[in-house]
Symmetry: C2
Subunit: 304 residues, 2 copies
């Protein structure tokens, strides 16, 4: 019998839980607002318990969650949310709640790492390794699949916070990051767009000067990730890159910045198939959690 | 019988070849100048053939080489040097020469990836994953061990070429990178130090203003790698970081730039054991090649 998986996409405002085996086989799904951690985790656990009665036992559960969090299975605070301004969630042992309730293999990682795994497994980056998944929305975050597993170590990537050359003359806006001011997120997230230009990005026409500057900062960041991670494909999720014209501008500027230095056909001639929108659209989050469960199940099956 | 490995550290000016199993067991070693690829590879092959007669058969060979190169085993140009200004080496099938001569598992990767593996296996980053190895000498290069294997994908990392905020007011020097001008390498490599200040860095006293600026650029780059790769340890090789006082300044500035954002004890309190000099010193190159051979042997033994 094909193993069945549970997946939780834990977001700051809502949780999505699903049971299935992949994008063409989601057998049950629910969503509810993110309240306090005990209550929220209880609703997730109740959902899976109910589904186990109806659909049969789960083989593993994946939990792709907002951060910062501790994804290191050998750490004493594995599975906890780390100090966060989100009321009640700091130090909550969210994965522990799942483990106690089910006694199943649990995979716990960031939402963007989950999305990277899902895009590699079923989406726009199938067969690629490393896969880089970057989301540019209200904030900016990145996850990656590297050598078959999700990327974390010290903690987990916080890719939005790299420093970039700030085009001060053309762009005196100081940036929105409370920690770093004009880091990549501070200069280029949705909030920065809104604060810099005094209006929401959805209202800008295609000739608005915001786009050229936005594409420039995104391209600087992508070049930095390419030099550091050497990804075989970059998936750009979140609301901002889905704006018309922006994707083409990002590709062109990334190519220009690298200036022939990386002698790969993907950069030199095939950049339109290298920097791509998500293949799973808004489903990458919950499917990422399902893919994480699948991976935890396969790892667990291999352990003697 | 314990398997015996061959390792080649292929540098732009010299090749080092060794036979052994690790840092405490190097049974033979030779070095010779890097001339034309056919001649250079022939000398390496002759050395290993001779050692096989004297010491017994090798189980695998690792080749940690200057780049750019193609480390992707499924690519038709796997094992080749890529277009390079170095006369005669562009498109040379250097790993192919080894494969034809020995019929053994061959591991072919960048010198800095080899050094990352060796530092993780026997040096200053034992038990860590990811391991980031950065060398700051005439140029700047980085390699990494991630999820148990070396990091490459699109091609291989070119970590020296990330963009950083250039402190133009304090530092009008335009940078030395022929491709990107003031990228990290362009601002902070040994050549940049020499050109900016009109003298070689070894001649600067400890109060020379070069060091504060140099530590600032290196710290910006390290913060960027930390956000992108989440390494469990960073090993700083090459001549520049070995200058007195510089390592302490780099640690202090990296911590200040991250500004508490990464809630890890390694950053917040233990940074002196997080950003470290190589444990293997100048031996990381050839030991990296031996470690690569060991990994190729283990992978090959697992393949049915």
């Amino acid at each position: 019998m094909k193993p069945l998986f549970g997946g939780i996409e834990g977001g700051g405002t809502k949780f999505v839980c699903a049971v299935g085996t992949g994008p063409d086989d989601i057998r049950a799904e629910t969503r509810f607002p993110t309240t306090r951690p005990e209550e929220t985790m209880e609703r997730a656990i109740d959902f899976f318990k109910q589904q186990e009665k109806e659909l049969g036992g789960l083989s593993a559960i994946g939990f792709a969650c907002f951060g910062p969090l501790n994804p290191d299975p050998v750490s004493p605070t594995y599975g906890h949310i780390l100090p966060t301004p989100k009321p009640g969630w700091a130090n909550a042992d969210v994965a522990g709640a799942l483990r106690s309730a089910f006694g199943l293999p649990i995979s716990f990682d960031t939402d963007v790492n989950g999305a990277a795994l899902a895009e590699g497994r079923w989406g726009a980056a199938q067969g690629c390794d490393p896969v880089l998944y970057l989301t540019i929305g209200t904030g900016i975050g990145g996850g990656a699949l590297v050598n078959g597993q999700l990327l974390h170590g010290l903690l987990h990537p916080e890719m939005g916070h790299i420093s970039l050359p700030h085009e001060i003359a053309r762009d005196p806006f100081p940036g929105t990051c409370p920690f770093h001011g004009d880091c990549f997120e501070g200069l280029a997230c949705g909030l920065a767009l809104e604060k810099r230009w005094g209006a929401r990005a959805e209202t800008f026409g295609p000739d608005h000067p915001a786009w050229d500057l936005e594409a420039h900062y995104i391209a600087l960041a992508l070049a930095s990730y390419i030099y550091t991670l050497s990804p075989q494909r970059i998936v750009l999720g979140g609301g901002v890159p889905q704006q018309p014209h922006l994707m083409a501008l990002i590709r062109q500027k990334t190519q220009a910045l690298i200036n022939g230095y990386v002698q790969s056909a993907q950069i030199l001639t095939n950049i339109a198939s290298y920097i791509v929108p998500p293949g799973l659209g808004g489903r990458a989050g919950v499917l990422g959690a399902i893919a994480m469960a699948e991976q935890a199940f396969l790892m667990d099956s291999k352990t003697p």
